[in-house]
């Protein structure tokens, strides 16, 4: 309804739109080039495909920690696309894994549970070991066990080793703290070492956790070797 725009204004607006399109096109080409570069580097280094995660922060609504089960309930479920098996972390490291998803809540198995097992490695040492939860005594700090540690690894109370997650399991991103190992002893086979892992005391009083939802979930039918 206003007065007709001057010719100069229309040319400027058209030019601005053209520039925006060009920038978008450039960004799309740059993204594609970078993705190709990542794939090329991964194939040279024989790395598994990089999995990216979306963080979904959720409040803890219940804690069921006793001799029979070690689980917490968080206030997000299918309504936030939480998948079964997703990793759960907090500021102190690994919390556990989602074992059951309801409409609005999910149940998380803690790393203290004997049913929980994951691949791990010591910080600065890429060789994989196995972490597993144990039955908790109920007093003192929470503990777990580490198995299949190489013979040359030494841990002591003065120099405890940090046990961190590895990408080998496919569920957790690498480098998340699991706990500290203060001693190792020869395992039952005699080939590897085993020891106790001291876990974060905050695990028993969590208020908020983050669920790591993989953006590109593994398809077991097509991704399995």
């Amino acid at each position: 309804m206003g007065a007709p725009q001057p010719l100069q204004g229309r040319v400027d607006r058209s030019g601005q739109g053209s520039r925006t399109r060009q920038v978008a096109l450039f960004n799309a080409q740059r993204k594609e080039t970078l993705e190709n570069e990542i794939q090329r580097l991964e194939s040279i280094l024989k790395l598994p495909s990089r999995r990216e995660f979306r963080y979904e922060v959720a409040r803890v609504v219940r804690r069921d920690l006793n001799a029979w089960w070690q689980q917490i309930v968080i206030r997000k479920g299918k309504d936030f696309d939480i998948p079964v098996g997703a990793a759960v972390v907090f500021s102190g490291g690994v919390v556990g894994r989602v074992v059951e998803v309801g409409a609005f809540t999910s149940r998380v198995e803690l790393i203290t549970s004997p049913n929980f097992r994951m691949a791990a490695n010591f910080e600065g040492d890429e060789r994989p070991v196995v972490y597993q939860g144990v039955v908790q005594g109920g007093f003192g700090t929470s503990v777990g066990t580490v198995r299949d540690a190489p013979q040359d690894v030494v841990a002591s109370t003065q120099l405890p080793l940090k046990l961190v997650s590895t990408r080998l399991g496919g569920t957790f991103p690498p480098g998340l703290l699991i706990g500290r190992v203060t001693w190792l002893e020869p395992g039952s086979t005699g080939i590897f070492q085993a020891g106790e892992v001291e876990l974060d005391s905050q695990l028993l009083s969590l208020h908020e956790v983050a669920v790591l939802i993989p953006l590109y979930p593994i398809d077991l039918d097509s991704d399995a070797p």
């Binding site: 609504v61 219940r62 804690r63 069921d64 920690l65 006793n66 001799a67 029979w68 089960w69 689980q71 059951e100 149940r107 004997p114 144990v134 039955v135 908790q136 005594g137 109920g138 007093f139 028993l204 009083s205």
Partner: protein, 176 residues
């Protein structure tokens, strides 16, 4: 009447007791103390109601507990029905209008619930000393708290009967 209205009140009271127990357990988690207080839920339905109403109330309570706790599904539903039926067939021996017999029953039933969940969920950890230590601590804490909770819960259920203008007497009176 298929369903005694008191069954609905007792079911509601059971849901409330479970909810409060879970709240307390969440707060006590950092102290490694857990309370399993399920025994009182079975006492009044078995002592006060006719068999159809008892069955419906206990069945729904068991389903509710199974849904709330991470135990194998059906464990408490089946366990409650068996334990409740055991009390039901002997209910003529108990005086439900006072708290003494219901409290004794609540302790017995609660212990059987702890036994049931220990056998069903912890069978593979029987060789672990830590497991038994925690079971003993849980049992002691639960039964100590039950000494206070059970009388409160039974009086609360009787008060609900009165508030809702229900029959406050059990179906069968004890033999004298």
């Amino acid at each position: 009447m298929l369903l005694d209205p008191r069954a609905i009140i007792l079911f509601g009271a059971n849901v409330l007791l479970l909810y409060l127990t879970l709240l307390v357990n969440s707060a006590l988690a950092s102290g490694s103390i857990y309370l399993l207080i399920l025994g009182p839920m079975l006492v009044f339905p078995a002592l006060y109601l006719r068999h159809q109403s008892y069955f419906i109330c206990t069945l729904f309570t068991g389903l509710w507990v199974d849904a709330a706790l991470p135990s194998a599904f059906g464990l408490f539903t089946i366990g409650f029905l068996f334990a409740g039926a055991f009390v039901f067939q002997m209910r003529i021996r108990f005086r439900a209008e006072h708290n003494y017999h219901p409290i004794m029953l609540a302790h017995g039933l609660n212990f059987s619930c702890i036994l049931l969940v220990t056998v069903a969920m912890g069978f593979s950890y029987f060789s672990s000393l830590g497991f038994w230590l925690q079971v003993v601590v849980t049992s002691l804490a639960s039964h100590l708290v039950l000494l206070v909770v059970a009388p409160w819960f039974f009086n609360f259920e009787r008060m609900l009967f009165e508030l809702c203008h229900m029959d406050t007497e059990p179906e069968d009176f004890p033999t004298l």
